[in-house]
């Protein structure tokens, strides 16, 4: 396949990047709230009341993050009628990689047989999808690539503390994918805005497994689990989620009333209600699937985007905002004209 002639360092063109296809994969194993029976029975109604989550999916014991990503990617490529060999790049957003190295994206590449592509991971925790989409947009608009597959795959069930009600009730497994390619304006990605604030890097983390706390120095086994300081994260997510969407729309000279759909990170329903209220965008415009899948971290936006694209609700010309917030702290938003 021909690759555009622009070389490294070439100018970003006025060409845009559009969605060619989407896909997703949710593991078969559904875990409804009442299956979390090791928590006090009286606590179980709190899950739906506080998070909006009724069910989440857990991967099978023999599945890993790349397996989920591969299955979402295959659906996406099939729908786009694009062969794996046509891919120039695979960007995998994950915060639950197969291994500390190599990049999980390379196993997705192997499983797909995408022999021409280069593949790497993006770890911005729950913000990873929008970060990866922005990088893919830059690759395409610079002419470095024409077919870029962005995959987001998460397998949090392996990192959940069985005694931590907040995270155990919230997170689930899943994967989404979006195939991107060049387009002429006005269709395509209009603009992305990314931000991070490292002063909050301790608020969402898996403490062990890296150089800061290698497994061979692990004293508290619970340090191998995901932890999140929920109160602080709620304040951050609602404030920065609002700020980045307002920043994005202002930069694009778009009114909030012109936005057809908001595809948010599926943190929990309390965050999404607060975000909708702060933005004065009706919650009915928010694509929400956390009731069925829980919070699937980086994957959540791409799973929700896939559901939107396959729903028949979205029309050519619609403006869609993706908005994410997560560990790092990191946050971002992308405006797409379908």
């Amino acid at each position: 396949m021909a690759v555009a002639s622009a070389r490294p360092g070439s100018q970003i063109t006025h060409m845009r990047t559009r969605i060619l296809a989407t896909g997703s994969y949710l593991p078969d194993r559904a875990v409804p709230n009442d299956a979390l029976a090791h928590f006090p029975r009286a606590s179980l109604p709190l899950i739906e009341e506080k998070t909006g989550i009724k069910c989440r999916r857990y991967a099978a014991d023999d599945q890993c993050t790349s397996d989920l990503g591969f299955l979402a990617a295959r659906v996406c490529l099939d729908r786009g009628s694009v062969a794996p060999e046509e891919l120039d790049a695979i960007l995998l957003a994950t915060s639950t990689p197969d291994r500390i190295q190599p990049a999980t994206a390379t196993r997705v590449q192997e499983l797909l047989g995408a022999s021409r592509a280069f593949a790497f991971d993006v770890n911005s925790v729950c913000s990873g999808s929008v970060y990866a989409i922005h990088l893919a947009d830059m690759l395409i608009r610079s002419g470095e690539a024409r077919r870029v597959l962005v995959v987001a795959s998460e397998l949090y069930s392996r990192f959940l503390d069985p005694k931590d009600f907040s995270t155990r009730a919230s997170l689930g497994d899943g994967a989404g994918a979006v195939l991107l390619g060049p387009a002429e304006p006005p269709q395509g990605i209009v603009l992305s805005r990314l931000h991070s604030d490292g002063s909050g890097n301790h608020l969402i983390q898996v403490p062990a497994g890296g150089t800061m706390m290698p497994y061979n120095r692990l004293k508290n086994p619970r340090d191998a689990y995901f932890l999140m300081h929920g109160r602080e994260v709620y304040e951050f997510a609602t404030a920065q989620g609002e700020a980045v969407v307002n920043e994005l729309l202002a930069a694009c000279d778009v009114n909030r009333s012109d936005v057809a759909f908001v595809v948010p990170h599926q943190a929990n329903i309390t965050v999404l209600r607060a975000l909708a209220a702060r933005l004065s965008i009706d919650l009915s415009k928010f694509v929400i699937n956390l009731d069925r899948y829980g919070n699937t971290a980086a994957a959540s936006v791409l799973i929700a985007l896939d559901e939107l694209m396959m729903s028949g609700r979205v029309q050519p010309g619609n403006l869609v905002v993706l908005v994410v917030f997560g560990g790092g702290l990191s946050w971002g938003a992308t405006l797409i004209r379908i």
Partner: protein, 88 residues
Amino acid sequence: MGSDTDSDLSEDNRQRLESALAAVFRRTPIHVTLDLRLGAIEGWDSMNAVTFTMEVEQAFEVQLGDTIFTRDQTIAQVLQVLHDNRTN
């Protein structure tokens, strides 16, 4: 097991409660006093109240059934619940 005087903040009870809180909030030190209201602990919310209850069950080796501690309860009231649980 907890101390013989559960409703007092004995050194043993204090250590157990502080360990439970450290496990929930993943930070130390969190100093407890009898009049400390749970909702005043930085980061307290209704979800980690469940985790705290389970940590207390383990720390004091008790089964609290459907009891979930709430933000309005004090450490003294937590100890009273534990005391009542043992005597009932």
